[in-house]
């Protein structure tokens, strides 16, 4: 059952990403991007990361893609929805992309991922690898523990009962908050329509 669900979500994610690359119409690209991002959210749920999956659905699919679609609507005029890529460039890019993909796969299949686990446990202490599941009655979801970690408190239970030797994330949380505020102010400043070249000076559409 888990294998079947994983296969469906993984195929939808990879196929959506490939369709984003191969599609030439920007509206269809947005649609395939929604498919891909939603499937990635499903993969997050499969990985017991329920809060990250919900955030992915809310912020990515609900926020960022809507932002992109608004960008498409504000800039889409006849010729610009179908800007064709040169076929030669596309073939070259796919060849280079395939080479990069082969390199990545060769890299991560060559690593023995279990070998580092005991070193990490010795150095940092081992949080339970069972991150927050629906199957654990006493744990509930990962929301509470993530909220505590973001406010600087680590509450993960250790196997041997010691305190976790890893820090919380209060300072990165504050930095990201201020960063988001500054970025939104800057984006609303940039996006104001200021001037527009006269239609006589504008060059014809590509």
């Amino acid at each position: 059952m888990g294998v079947l669900v994983f296969t469906i979500f993984a195929l939808a994610a990879c196929g959506g990403a490939l369709a984003v690359v191969l599609s030439q119409n920007v509206v269809r690209m947005a649609f395939w991007l929604i498919i891909s991002l939603s499937s990635v959210a499903g993969l997050f749920f499969l990985l017991n990361a329920d809060f990250v999956g919900a955030t992915q659905l809310l912020i990515y699919v609900g926020g960022t893609v809507v932002l992109l679609i608004f960008g498409v609507m504000l800039t889409a005029q006849g010729p610009y929805t179908n800007l064709k890529t040169n076929p030669g460039e596309m073939v070259l890019a796919l060849a280079v992309g395939g080479a990069v993909f082969a390199m990545l796969v060769a890299a991560f299949t060559g690593v023995d991922w279990d070998a580092n686990s005991d070193q990490i446990e010795r150095k940092f202490g081992s949080a339970s690898t069972q991150v927050a599941g629906y199957n654990q009655q006493d744990e509930g979801s990962s929301v509470r523990r993530m909220g505590a970690a973001l406010s600087g408190i680590r509450t993960e239970s250790l196997r041997d009962g010691r305190n976790l030797k890893r820090p919380g994330y209060l300072l990165p949380f504050e930095i990201v908050s201020v960063h988001l505020l500054v970025v939104l102010v800057g984006a609303s400043y940039l996006a104001r329509a200021k001037r527009r070249v006269a239609p006589s000076q504008s060059s014809p559409a590509a």
Binding site: A17, Y80, F124, R166
Partner: protein
Amino acid sequence: MDPVGLKHYLFVGAMLFVCGVVCMATKRNTIGMLMGVELVLNGANVNFVALSRHTPLGLDGQIASMFVIVLAAAEAAVALAIALNFYNNHLSIDVDRADDLRG
């Protein structure tokens, strides 16, 4: 033993990353390039969450992916504002025309 292991998720992450890079490199539409950036960040997110599940690192990977999601939203907002500004000035969103700074 779970038949779906870490490497399957890393495979999906690598696939998303490569698709995003190719999308960034080939699309002539500014919005299309932005979609490529989103795909790259999503590939990184898949790797973060998969490693937080399958290694003793625990919750750290999930928190890193939260930061990535927030920064991706901020980046999309700014890049879209720049794209709209470019469209207002040039009446085009073809990135090949953005050569005003060429020396």
